[in-house]
């Protein structure tokens, strides 16, 4: 980070802009995704509006797929754009991949990335078609609804009560060079009967949860991109703004309280959660079984565990914490009646924990 900052400070704004442009020109693959939390938030509009702006700036833009039913403002936008219609296959519609590749536009717009293709085509899903276009050097601008992310399927089904059969893996979303969230609060319907009122409130709550999921996923993608970007610019350990909690377990730690607190904070802050313990060469049988017990609690909570092997547990812990961009370190502490002297490990840890909060649990 240090060297990079110095380097960036020397650059003029023009240089930075040139770099951005040069990078853009050099990148063969380009995928941009508009993410929304429900249908009707305006993903298609935002996407096609960008297509229109690109067209006006002289770029070769075509539309490869749109939703079957679109609002008036969207069809108005579409009327200005070249459309390669979906092709009819046995069992349904799919984008006309071969026609698109032959046509070779600079930019292709693909709505509804989660659709499954009819059976028998070379790609089973539309997002794979999009990926093929991206790999062929065509810039793809696509849209997706948070409800159709594979990894969130269970959560979404629990919220909406609907079974989902068409999904896109989160890795595809994370592979996007750009992501934009299309946000809008759930609409407020007017003049409702009391029953409708309850329905509407339930619906609003459901939508709020989906909206939150979309925000957090976008934040995660941005975090991921930020890491990539900084790495590309020669910065090794630099992290985004996500809170990252590390629970340091020892044989006598109050693991139950530590993990419970960590989970609650992680849940509220949408934080990443890791546990670690330092493997000591000579551990009494008693301590051995005690630490196993603590680790089992962490494992049962689904928390990944890192084993640190080092001469000095504090050194190892801090090195690991910094390598993972930890923002909150949880440790246990035995209150002895004697004074904590300078050599006390907890004291040392606090002294050296610049940049992270240390949460000390009595044990």
């Amino acid at each position: 980070m240090r060297s990079m900052n110095r380097e960036m400070r020397r650059k003029t704004p023009e240089e930075i802009l040139h770099e951005v442009q040069a990078e853009e020109a050099a990148v063969q693959r380009h995928l941009k995704i508009f993410l929304g939390y429900a249908s009707g938030v305006g993903k298609s509009f935002r996407m096609l509006d960008e297509a229109r702006r690109r067209l006006e700036r002289g770029q070769d833009v075509v539309v490869g797929a749109v939703q079957p039913v679109v609002p008036a403002e969207v069809s108005k936008l579409m009327s200005k754009l070249e459309i390669i219609p979906l092709k009819k296959y046995l069992g349904g519609l799919a984008i006309d991949l071969d026609a698109l590749i032959r046509r070779r536009p600079a930019v292709c717009v693909i709505d509804g990335l989660a659709y499954n293709n009819p059976p028998g085509l070379r790609n089973p899903t539309r997002w794979q078609d999009a990926q093929e276009l991206v790999n062929a050097g065509i810039k793809v601008i696509g849209s997706i609804n948070i409800q159709y992310i594979e990894e969130l399927r269970e959560q979404v089904e629990a919220v909406t009560g609907k079974h989902i059969t068409e999904t896109v893996p989160v890795s595809f979303i994370k592979s996007a060079d750009e992501i934009e969230l299309v946000d809008a609060p759930p609409e407020e319907p007017i003049d409702r009967s009391p029953e409708q009122q309850i329905d509407a409130e339930q619906r609003e709550k459901r939508l709020s949860i989906l909206r939150e999921m979309a925000l957090v996923l976008t934040a995660d993608v941005v975090d991921h991109q930020l890491g990539d970007y900084l790495e590309k610019h020669g910065v090794k350990h630099q992290f985004g703004m996500q809170e990252r909690i590390l629970v340091y377990l020892t044989p006598r730690a109050n693991a139950v309280e530590m993990i419970e607190t960590a989970q609650r904070i992680a849940d509220r802050f949408h934080a990443e959660l890791i546990a670690a313990y330092a493997k000591r060469p000579r551990l009494s049988a008693e301590d051995e079984s005690a630490i196993e017990e603590k680790l089992a609690i962490a494992r049962a909570a689904g928390i990944p565990i890192e084993i640190l092997a080092a001469e000095n547990a504090i050194d190892a812990l801090l090195v690991f914490a910094r390598s993972r961009g930890i923002t909150q370190l949880f440790i246990g502490h035995r209150q002895s009646s004697r004074r904590l002297l300078w050599g006390d490990p907890v004291d040392q840890l606090i002294r050296r924990s610049q940049g992270m909060d240390v949460r000390i649990f009595p044990q």
């Binding site: 900052n5 802009l17 959560q155 750009e178 957090v216 941005v222 940049g355 909060d357 949460r359």
Partner: protein, 370 residues
């Protein structure tokens, strides 16, 4: 009381100038107007942006008030005129703005309170970096101390929060095309908030903050949907206590502790402890620092106390025990506690005495500079 008559507040959050907050707000105003709703623009900051200015066409704009200050005349929102005009909905740009001295109120958010109290709905805009509790993180990201801040509780009062999202790349293109700033401003902007990595980090903050604001509202409304199992096992209620000292890190400590308290729906208290019985006998600078920190905590809606006691650690922990505190927050002080390594420092003693509560040592987040 007048809660039901109070105007609603809708907040458009962004992460930088130029992402389109004002544009989106004006677009919504146009839509509302077309539906026959009485909407006016109470304050609009054009920044010379043509596309945005075009969006005000046909909207009624309330003329600004003229405020003389030090021989010049400044323009601010005319709250009096808005109250007289009394529309259904009023648009007010830049929630975090500080009014020129001599204005009826110091902050625009206070003006907005007055407008809402009159039963007028308000639409407003802000960037995430103006949120008080994020001040240290924004400093860490950008190296900039944002001075115009809004207390978190004010933002939490918004009935609706919408994020205006745009990728940093698209934003930089806009900047380059001169849509956002005129040419001479571009250079400065690019060096500060507009570095791509800075933008990405600020954007992530804005996204996470909006997610939190939505979750906060959902919890407030007591949502009970099975989708979030972690919400169900309600752990014990937390009560947070922080120690106010003369240390300049106290401001950071207050922001951090309050943020954690807000996220955990926990109550938050701040105490200052002085060893003599009389605050007046403290050195002037120390007293001034303590009072400034206590005042800051109160502005963040933290309950504050001043306690007397010859032993700071013991006084703090006794107070914690009497008040069922579960977490004590302290600032990591680089100088003081480490130089006296043969002594038991304040921090160490607090940790030793806090047998039944968690102690959180908050660390400074500094921008990585050479």
């Amino acid at each position: 009381m007048a809660e039901t008559n109070r105007g609603k507040l809708k907040l458009y959050i962004g992460y930088a100038a130029g992402v389109g907050k004002t544009y989106k707000m004006l677009e919504e105003a146009q839509l509302l107007k077309s539906q026959g709703i009485d909407v006016v623009v109470g304050y609009f900051e054009p920044h010379g942006r043509k596309e945005t200015i075009a969006k005000t066409e046909g909207l009624e704009i309330i003329p600004r008030a003229k405020i003389p200050y030090r021989g010049s005349v400044f323009e601010e929102m005319d709250v009096g005129a808005i109250l007289v005009r009394h529309p259904q909905i009023c648009l007010v740009d830049e929630f975090a703005h500080t009014n020129v001295p001599g204005s009826p109120r110091a902050k625009r958010w206070e003006d907005i309170e007055i407008i809402r109290n009159a039963g007028i709905d308000v639409l407003t805009t802000m960037n995430v970096q103006h949120l008080e509790s994020l001040n240290d993180q924004v400093w860490q990201i950008s190296g900039i101390r944002v001075r115009e801040t809004i207390p978190d509780w004010v933002v939490q009062q918004a009935d609706e929060v919408v994020i205006i999202d745009l990728s940093p790349r698209a934003l930089l293109h806009r900047l380059e095309r001169g849509v956002i700033y005129d040419r001479e401003k571009v250079e400065r902007a690019l060096q500060n908030f507009f570095r791509e990595s800075t933008l990405a980090a600020l954007r992530e903050l804005a996204l996470r903050e909006t997610a939190h604001e939505i979750e906060h509202r959902a919890i407030k409304d007591e949502v009970e949907i099975a989708a979030k199992p972690s919400e169900q096992k309600q752990t014990k209620d937390h009560r947070i206590l922080l120690l106010v000292t003369t240390d300049p890190n106290t401001a950071m400590l207050i922001r951090r502790a309050k943020r954690v308290a807000d996220f955990l729906e926990a109550e938050c208290f701040a105490v200052a402890i002085h060893t003599s019985n009389d605050l007046n006998r403290m050195a002037y600078q120390d007293r001034e620092a303590i009072e400034r920190h206590l005042n800051f905590a109160r502005n963040m809606r933290i309950e504050t106390r001043v306690l007397a006691g010859s032993d700071t650690a013991k006084t703090l922990i006794d107070f914690a025990h009497t008040n069922q505190i579960t977490q004590v927050f302290l600032a990591r002080n680089r100088k003081q506690s480490y130089s006296l390594f043969w002594h038991e420092g304040l921090l160490q003693k607090i940790v030793r005495l806090a047998r039944d509560m968690q102690v959180v040592i908050v660390s400074e987040r500094e921008p990585e500079t050479e």
